[in-house]
Symmetry: C2
DNA sequence: GCTGCTCTGTAACTCTTGTTACTGCACAGG
DNA sequence: CCTGTGCAGTAACAAGAGTTACAGAGCAGC
């Protein structure tokens, strides 16, 4: 734990804080596709991502999903964070995008460290800022962009997060994330292929130029 | 300033903090319609709303606007907040919805108080939490709702914020806020009127039952 | 009361996205 | 090699929202 923690957070947290994290944190792992937090669940701690990526989703009353953003190493979930402090239920769903490992920090320590460590405060604020920015990006995308542009954005993000130019998803899975229908995604992907920006095979999409 | 401050924040901040706010804050006012912060501007402080309401807007590259949410007495702008700490430019526009007054807190004090006062920390975190929730609501609206439902939501919010069941806006202004066209809004408003949920006059909309 | 301006109502059309329905292909497992 | 299942391609249509264009209503200033 120590080694991974230092790789991801060593340059932003001071030594004493790292010690406290090692002492109080619980290491957890999740495999790609695992649900990490469900909407309506009480949040028991705050995760510090060490490895892998997590996707954060919103759901409406009919069960329709929408991808908000991805978290990577060095990120934490600000949503969780404010839930912890308010002891409220989660408003989002978190699903492991790849195999992940993270450290869970108990709620009690969070408040303590906020008073005690400047680096922790900065991290927490920085995290809120990043998350708000990402929410704004998500809003921009759904409010101002057409489906084809949103799809390109999605494919770019997905390739980046997975560090793989080949995306291993079905059209249906993409449709869920983007809150649209499979037919629409197939249609647009085919158009992108004709434009020589991607190439399509069963269960995978290869990014050529987006 | 003292009196208004205590009315809005007296029950959440301790006395010493209130003293510091009075000492360091600068009181400002804005008339309905005034721009308070513009996108790309550097943020010089953090506003504590005393009176009135502010609307927070996002803009895309073509200058198209979208209303994100309203702020009221007791609120602060978390966006501003994270901009302050990061010394970055504003990502949003803030416009006075009604005549407003607020206290500007200089950046330097914010960090100091975060270490010093628990009530300030809680306020800041609480504020982030509220703003994130409101962003989620905004996302829900544009992602999951149709125009007619979004319009009803808008009218409800607007009536609530202004404490006035009669909304004094033109269809064009509503269209700007909702990032659509005037014709669409006129069409839907007429439909709502036929359903006896609102009544329409020139420059005003009276909410009957939404 | 006339004039000019802004605001609203409406029709007709286009475009994008969503829906339904069907076809065929790919692959795993017998 | 056959077959079932899931995945992808495509057509045809429906619905919602955006666009253009124009007519007329309301109101302020003269």
């Amino acid at each position: 734990m120590r080694k991974e923690l230092e790789e991801a957070y060593g340059f932003i947290f001071e030594k004493e804080l790292l010690d406290e994290i090692v002492e109080n944190g619980i290491i957890k792992t999740a495999s790609a596709g695992d649900k990490i937090i469900e909407i309506g669940e009480y949040v028991t701690g705050m995760p510090l991502l060490l490895k892998g990526a997590i996707k954060i989703l919103r759901e409406d009353n009919d069960g329709d999903e929408l991808l908000l953003y991805f978290l990577e190493r060095g990120d934490t979930c600000a949503m969780t964070l404010s839930c912890c402090l308010g002891e409220t239920k989660s408003e989002i769903r978190a699903v492991a995008e790849t195999d992940t490992s993270f450290i869970m920090i108990p709620i009690s320590k969070m408040e303590e460290w906020t008073a005690k460590y400047k680096s922790w405060r900065n991290f927490v604020f920085e995290s809120y800022h990043s998350r708000l920015s990402e929410m704004l990006d998500a809003i921009d995308a759904i409010a101002f962009l057409n489906m084809d542009e949103r799809l390109m954005r999605y494919l770019r993000d997905k390739a980046k997060i997975n560090r793989d130019e080949t995306i291993h998803s079905t059209h249906q899975q993409i449709a869920y994330d983007m809150h649209t229908s499979r037919v629409v995604i197939s249609r647009l992907l085919k158009k992108l292929e004709l434009d020589k920006r991607i190439s399509l095979q069963r269960n995978q999409i290869k990014v050529i130029d987006l």
